[in-house]
């Protein structure tokens, strides 16, 4: 059980700066997700934590003591790999017992702990199979059990679900979360799947080109992103450029697509700003009096539970929104759009 502090981590590969000052913290028992697109430095960060890579700068401490000088095999962290990394020449029980064998634990204790770990990840009965004789989902659970059986201080998982199909992914994802919460282990979890990150984590670090763009709770990341990049990466989003921004107490007065409204937003915005509207903050107004924007329905897709709808605004902007499944709208209709300004969020506009 441990609190982890990563400070200003730097790593370069040749002339390429893979980590450019990554800072993160994890309280005891938290699951912290590193989220970001391919190549942003998630694995590099995790591998520095695990001790497989030496960072060029920065520090990593656990419960206050620096661990950068400690080799991987003395850190006592459990690591779960994307490709499972099971030892192909050992049985399931052999894999799980590997660490215990190295610690020269007595036979009875070993057998007991292996059995416990196998029960934890629901793998009973597969002890004597070899990794190639079990399914991908089972292999990933063996990998999890192998890491957990040593009761690590910290659990590190690098895209553990990436090689599983959608159904298994759900199953193993909840298993990981349950086991992590039950055992109260601090964990770092790497993924590029935002829904995975949202559902599982206590804290999310959205990474961008070797830096942490935002480090906050999933709710905050989703509802109050600090920049467009974060908003884009964490779900469906509409962005509207504001034509006027004036800070007022507790928010901003803005003018956007011809409408005036008051919204909350990232503190300290001066001039250029854009409004984030998540699809669920928008709805089609029953009568035009309540509508803030007017537009023409351009695309409509029936999704079962709802309809996906895209509306073109007169000034050229477009809005994506979810409409009730049985609402009678058609492509080409004029529609009034209502917004829930509670769920609107103002962010500084970055010129691309």
């Amino acid at each position: 059980m441990a609190a982890v502090e990563v400070r200003d981590l730097r790593k370069r590969y040749g002339s390429f700066l893979a980590l450019d000052g990554v800072s993160l913290t994890a309280q005891t028992g938290q699951l912290v997700t590193l989220l970001g697109p391919s190549g942003c430095g998630k694995s590099t960060t995790l591998r520095c934590l695990a001790g497989f890579l030496d960072p060029d700068g920065g520090s990593i401490s656990i419960d206050g003591s620096d661990i950068l000088g400690v080799p991987a095999n003395r850190r006592g962290f459990g690591v779960v790999f994307q490709n499972y990394a099971l030892f192909p020449h050992m049985t399931v029980a052999g894999n799980i017992g590997y660490g215990l064998k190295l610690q020269k634990r007595p036979k009875t204790e070993m057998a007991e702990r292996i059995a416990d770990a196998m029960r934890l990840v629901r793998l009973q009965g597969l002890e004597d199979r070899y990794p190639r004789q079990i399914s991908g989902g089972q292999q990933q659970r063996v990998a999890l059990a192998r890491a957990l059986v040593l009761r690590p201080r910290l659990l590190l998982l690098d895209e553990p679900l990436a090689n599983l199909d959608a159904r298994l992914r759900d199953e193993v994802r909840w298993l990981i979360r349950d086991v992590q919460q039950e055992s109260g282990i601090t964990a770092f979890y790497v993924t590029h799947d935002q829904s995975e990150a949202m559902a599982m984590s206590d804290m999310v670090a959205v990474m961008k080109e070797g830096r942490v763009a935002q480090f906050a709770t999933p709710r905050e990341i989703y509802q109050k992103p600090v920049e467009r990049y974060v908003a884009d990466f964490t779900g469906e989003a509409n962005f509207l450029s504001c034509t006027r921004v004036a800070p007022v107490a507790g928010g901003y007065d803005i003018e956007v697509a011809g409408a005036h409204l008051r919204v909350a937003g990232v503190p300290g915005i001066r001039d250029r700003a854009e409004l984030l509207l998540r699809p669920e903050a928008l709805s089609i107004a029953p009568d035009t009096g309540q509508a803030l924007f007017q537009g023409r329905v351009e695309k409509l897709a029936f999704l079962g539970a709802s309809q996906h709808c895209e509306v073109r605004l007169p000034d050229g902007g477009a809005l994506k929104l979810a409409v009730q499944a049985n609402r009678p709208v058609g492509v080409g209709d004029q529609a009034g759009i209502r917004i829930d300004s509670e769920h609107a969020w103002l962010m500084p506009e970055v010129r691309q």
């Binding site: 001790g51 991987a72 095999n73 990394a85 020449h89 190295l102």
Partner: protein
């Protein structure tokens, strides 16, 4: 429907042509072996194919000839030591090669396989001078060194191929579970590359068993390997005993190849 064609053209015409080519190739490859094996069982007095009657007399003769048996034993001994030493060194070299990165790794590979790239005769002459300088000229140890040098690339290539098959993540997983470098090597890497190591050893052995030029230049006085002994023998007597000796060599090679096949099968199993 179009006629099935591939890179080599029309299948209906090409298939029989290919078949013929392959049959010819096999005839070409196997004819000398069949002849020599056949000749070794001859009941007559001359090396001849087809054999005249069947008998094992030439095998009896082979094992009765002290010089040939000594040669066989010498070859077996040198080959065994060669196999053991080359595989041990090749494992270390292979591991070192994995750590060397970038520009140097290519040069390292070339360096390790150099004996394959330089004509055997040149290496042999160079070795002869060198061994005389360090006072090992015309000694069994000198001969042994020569064989190890010439056979090393075979072991190296096979072992490096096996090492490449072991993903780095296995080593990292092992370390994260508390294993030291040596423990990871002994418990994870070595078991996984063992088939490749054995294969490398067998290749090195067969190569050593076959070496002629190097043996000729480096052999100690009166210490012939089997190929040298056979050649000496054939210079004076052109008898089917040589065919028997050759057949014994072939048998040993086939044994090696069969073992390699089995090991390749084993490697695939993972």
């Amino acid at each position: 429907m179009t006629d099935q064609t591939n890179t080599f053209g029309n299948r209906r015409v090409m298939a029989p042509a290919f078949g013929l080519l392959i049959v010819l190739l096999y005839v070409f490859l196997l004819a000398p072996l069949v002849t020599i094996v056949g000749a070794s069982f001859t009941g007559g007095l001359l090396m001849r194919f087809p054999p005249e009657g069947l008998s094992l007399q030439w095998y009896r003769e082979f094992f009765a000839r002290q010089d040939l048996v000594d040669g066989l034993l010498m070859s077996l001994r040198i080959g065994t030591v060669t196999a053991v030493v080359t595989t041990a060194v090749a494992i270390m070299a292979g591991l070192a090669g994995q750590v060397i990165s970038g520009r140097w790794s290519g040069w390292f590979q070339i360096g390790m396989t150099l004996p394959l790239l330089v004509p055997e005769l040149l290496t042999a002459i160079g070795l002869l001078f060198f061994l005389y300088k360090i006072e090992l000229g015309k000694s069994v140890i000198g001969l042994q060194i020569g064989h190890i040098l010439m056979s090393f690339p075979y072991a190296y290539v096979s072992i490096v191929a096996a090492l490449r098959q072991v993903p780095v993540s296995l080593e990292e997983a092992s370390a994260s579970l508390g294993a030291s470098g040596w423990q990871t090597f002994r418990l994870v890497i070595l078991p996984l590359v063992m088939p490749g190591v054995a294969m490398g050893g067998i290749f090195a052995f067969i190569n050593s068993f076959d070496l002629y030029t190097v043996s000729l230049l480096l052999k100690p006085l009166g210490g012939n390997t089997l190929p040298l002994a056979l050649f000496d023998f054939l210079t004076y007597e052109f008898k089917p005993t040589a065919a028997a000796a050759a057949t014994i060599s072939i048998l040993l090679s086939i044994l090696g190849v069969a073992l390699v096949q089995r090991l390749v099968g084993l490697q695939r199993a993972f």
